[in-house]
C-alpha cells in the first residue's frame, strides 16, 4: 500500500517538473522573440550618414562646390540636390508621400538666410518641431547640423550651412 502511494507521488512530481520545464522554456522563447523581433531604430544613424553625404557633396576641403553657383557667381537655383549628391530616396514602402526630407540652408556671418535647397517630402519637417520623447518615437527622426564653408570665388566670403535631414521609415524601425 505504501509502495503504491510513493509511486503516485513520484508521478505527480514528474508532471509538476514537466509543467515547470514547459513554463521556463516558453518564457525563454518569449524573451528571445521579444528581443530579436524588435527592430533596431537606425534612422538617426541613417540621417547622420545623409548629412555627411550632403556636406561632402556641397563642400570640398572647406570650399563650396562650384556647381552651386551660376555663371554670375550667384547661387544656382536649379541645383539638383538629389542628382548631384547621388541620393536615392526609393524605399521598399511604396508611399506616395516619401520617407525622406533634406534641406540645406545657407546663411552669411550675420545669420541672414541667403539661399536654400531642399529635396523630398517637406511635410516630414513638422515632426522635427515636436519634442522627441519616448511616446513620440513613431514620428520621423531629425538631424540638424551646421558647418562652415567658403565661397569658392573668395577666401573671405564664408557661409554657415545648416543641413536638416529627416527620415520617416517608421514601419521598419519602430515596433
Amino acid at each position: 500500500m505504501k509502495i503504491i502511494n510513493k509511486r503516485g507521488a513520484e508521478k505527480i512530481l514528474s508532471i509538476y517538473w514537466f509543467t515547470i520545464l514547459i513554463i521556463i522554456a516558453g518564457a525563454v522563447v518569449t524573451m528571445v522573440s521579444l528581443f530579436y523581433g524588435a527592430p533596431y531604430d537606425a534612422r538617426s544613424a541613417e540621417a547622420n550618414i545623409m548629412v555627411n553625404q550632403i556636406s561632402n557633396c556641397l563642400s570640398e576641403n572647406g570650399k563650396l562646390n562650384q556647381e552651386l553657383f551660376n555663371e554670375n557667381k550667384n547661387f544656382n537655383e536649379n541645383f539638383n540636390l538629389k542628382e548631384k549628391c547621388n541620393l536615392i530616396f526609393e524605399t521598399e514602402f511604396k508611399s506616395e508621400r516619401g520617407e525622406y526630407f533634406l534641406e540645406a540652408d545657407f546663411y552669411n556671418l550675420n545669420n541672414d538666410k541667403i539661399f536654400s535647397i531642399s529635396e523630398g517630402n517637406s511635410n516630414l519637417y513638422a515632426d522635427c518641431k515636436v519634442n522627441p520623447e519616448e511616446k513620440y518615437k513613431k514620428l520621423s527622426k531629425c538631424v540638424e547640423r551646421d558647418f562652415y564653408s567658403l565661397n569658392p570665388f573668395s577666401d573671405d566670403d564664408i557661409f554657415k550651412i545648416k543641413i536638416i535631414s529627416v527620415i520617416r521609415k517608421t514601419e521598419k524601425n519602430v515596433k
Binding site: Y16, I23, M31, L34, P39, Y40, Y148, L150, D155
Partner: protein, 113 residues
C-alpha cells in the same frame, strides 16, 4: 495514537505542498519580471551614431578646413568663436581640440612640402 499520527502526517504534507506552491510562484514571478525587462530593453534598441567609436565627423572637418582657409583674421575669429560655441553645446561627434590640432599640423606639414 493512530489519529495523532495521521494528523501529524497531514500537517507535514500540507507544509510540503505549500513549499512547492511558493516555489512555483517564485519561478513564475521571476520569469514575469524577466519578460517585462526584456520587453523594455527591446524597445530601446537604437543605433546611436554619435556614440559609436568609429565615427569620423566630416561636418567638423569641413568647418575646420574652411576656418584655416580664411584670409581675413576678423572673419576667422568670428568663425572660431562660433565653432567653440558649437563645441560647448556638444554638437560635434569628435573631440574638437584634437581635430583642430590634427588638421592644423597636417596643413602646416603640407605647406612645408
Amino acid at each position: 495514537m493512530l489519529n495523532r499520527k495521521i494528523l501529524k502526517n497531514n500537517r507535514a504534507q500540507t507544509s510540503e505542498a505549500m513549499i512547492w506552491i511558493v516555489a512555483t510562484l517564485v519561478i513564475i514571478v521571476l520569469l514575469g519580471i524577466s519578460i517585462y525587462a526584456v520587453s523594455i530593453l527591446s524597445k530601446k534598441k537604437t543605433m546611436n551614431y554619435e556614440k559609436e567609436d568609429v565615427v569620423q565627423d566630416i561636418v567638423l572637418e569641413e568647418s575646420l578646413f574652411a576656418y584655416f582657409l580664411i584670409q581675413d583674421s576678423s572673419v576667422q575669429e568670428k568663425v572660431f568663436e562660433s565653432l567653440e560655441k558649437m563645441n560647448q553645446e556638444e554638437k560635434f561627434y569628435e573631440d574638437f581640440n584634437s581635430k583642430f590640432t590634427q588638421i592644423k599640423f597636417n596643413l602646416e606639414k603640407n605647406e612645408k612640402k
